[in-house]
């Protein structure tokens, strides 16, 4: 038996691979604050969301976390839990934004929402599961500020990529 694959399946595979590559490169880079990464893989999620819709974006996002976890050897470790929690939160907020936004948001809007949700989700998991110290709460606004900046940047990058597809 042969599994029939569509053109879209191939595209999803390629985009997931690209997202995983970005994820791995970021994981290798040193970070001033533990857990703080620019989240450039978010660019891919947003591009897929705008092009192929939420279902595909959710697949790419979750596959990215799973595959990166397996490749980095962090599968089912705390790092993986943080990654997965963040991804689930951002996928959920994107669904909500699509439902309530009725297509009013552009790539930057989706990207900012996804980045903030990702950070909040990670923070929530870190706080409840690993270090429930009230002092940690002081980091939250700082982390969200960074998420806001990175989210905007990723959104602009995603828009450029989409533009590139249109021109190609």
């Amino acid at each position: 038996m042969e599994l029939s694959t569509t053109r879209e399946d191939h595209l999803i595979a390629w985009l997931t691979a690209l997202a995983v590559a970005i994820h791995l490169i970021e994981a290798a880079l040193p970070s001033p604050l533990p857990g703080v990464k620019p989240g450039l893989a978010n660019v891919i999620t947003i591009v897929v969301l705008m092009r192929f819709g939420w279902r595909t974006a959710a697949w790419v996002s979750l596959l990215r976390v799973l595959v990166s976890g397996l490749l980095l050897g962090t599968f089912l470790s705390p790092t993986f839990a943080l990654s997965l929690g963040g991804a689930l939160c951002s996928v959920a907020i994107l669904w909500l934004a699509l439902q309530l936004g009725r297509g009013g948001f552009g790539p930057v809007g989706y990207s900012v929402l996804a980045a903030l949700a990702h950070m909040t989700g990670q923070f929530g998991i870190a706080y409840t599961l690993f270090i429930p110290h009230p002092g940690l709460l002081h980091l939250l606004p700082v982390l969200l500020t960074l998420a806001l900046l990175f989210g905007t940047t990723s959104g602009i990058l995603a828009r450029s990529m989409l533009k590139g597809f249109d021109n190609a």
Partner: protein, 347 residues
């Protein structure tokens, strides 16, 4: 523009969610002086009127306990001691009766390090008096008292009659009364229909219930520098007690004479600077904190085992912390600089 109404709705919902998660007050606090120390009581989820009634009730209750158990001012305990010294036997007043058996059990388990029969020694040093001492008592006085070996094993309780074979026995429950009282205070609050409270009688704290969505948080004072050395969360029915050489002391020629007296030498114990114990029984926590302080860094683990306590932190004279695994698992070290930590299994 109906589309933007939707964004607006999202924003409002988001704002409401964040606003609701702000902590609600619902906390009532009171401080008062009793037992010769500062007592602080915090209640959660109680209306103000009920809280005020409870505070008044509790203050009166603690003053009553303080009077009943007072070891040198005219009190039921002083009368009991006089009767024991002169007749060798006495009827125990109802307010003192519940103290005798636990005091005896804890004293024997501690190998006599917690020794409430040594009231004579405590009186000699006079740390508990309103006019604190400035010099140690004479060696001869201490030695003649130690030679008589007053011990809780000299006492036999039969119904409500207490007999002693040793006229030197003089009861003083100072080393565990505060821990016991903190727990009794919580019991009294429960009778008043209050289920969430923390009662702190200086170094002895007992909690019931919680503080809303979180547990009660307690900081342990650093024995040397200002501030906190560690903190932990206490759950329903738990007690924490700390005994330290900084509570009552005087210095002579750079030697610190503090109130934690070693019943074997008659002098302040030298093996530690503070001991913290968590246990479900307030009297046990308080008595064992004193006894383990006296046991010192060499022998505390054996005495802890014998007294049935497994959550202990001892700070030795170098400022290093020795913890049982159960204590290490729940304590958050906050001291700055952080002390060296040694985890020690009980034998």
């Amino acid at each position: 523009m109906p589309r933007y109404l939707h964004y607006f709705a999202v924003l409002v919902v988001a704002f409401l969610i964040s606003a609701c998660s702000r902590p609600q007050p619902g906390v009532q606090e009171q401080q008062f002086v009793a037992f010769g120390t500062l007592i602080s009581v915090t209640l959660y989820a109680v209306d103000e009127q009920q809280a005020q009634r409870a505070f008044q009730e509790l203050e009166a209750y603690f003053n009553q306990l303080h009077h009943d158990w007072h070891a040198w001012e005219p009190s039921p305990l002083v009368e009991l001691n006089q009767a024991l010294a002169t007749q060798g036997a006495a009827e125990v007043p109802a307010v003192i009766l519940p103290l005798i058996t636990p005091a005896q059990r804890l004293s024997i388990a501690s190998g006599g390090l917690f020794n409430p029969a040594m009231g004579g020694l405590f009186a000699l040093w006079g740390f508990q008096s309103d006019d604190p001492p400035r010099t140690p008592p004479a060696d001869a006085e201490i030695n003649s008292l130690l030679a008589q070996h007053p011990s809780m094993a000299d006492l036999q309780l039969n119904g409500t009659t207490l007999r002693t074979t040793n006229p030197a026995v003089k009861l003083d429950f100072g080393a565990f009364a505060k821990g016991y009282a903190a727990q009794l205070g919580c019991k009294r609050l429960q009778q008043l229909g209050i289920d969430n409270a923390i009662v702190a009688v200086a170094g002895d704290i007992h909690v019931i219930g919680n503080r809303g969505e979180r547990a009660w948080r307690v900081g342990v004072r650093h024995p040397r520098t200002p501030g906190i050395i560690a903190s932990t969360e206490l759950h329903d029915g738990e007690s924490i007690s700390t005994s330290g050489d900084y509570e009552r002391y005087f210095d002579v020629d750079n030697i610190r004479y503090h109130h934690l007296l070693d019943p074997r030498t008659g002098y302040p114990a030298r093996g530690a600077i503070s001991v913290t114990v968590i246990n479900n029984d307030g009297a046990t926590a308080d008595a064992s904190a004193s006894a383990l302080f006296i046991a010192g860094v060499e022998h505390w683990a054996e005495v802890a085992k014998a007294m049935g306590v497994d959550q202990v932190m001892l700070i030795d004279i170098e400022g290093e912390a020795h913890l049982t695994p159960a204590m290490a698992a729940r304590l958050r070290i906050e001291g700055d600089p952080a002390p060296e930590l040694y985890i020690q299994e009980l034998p």
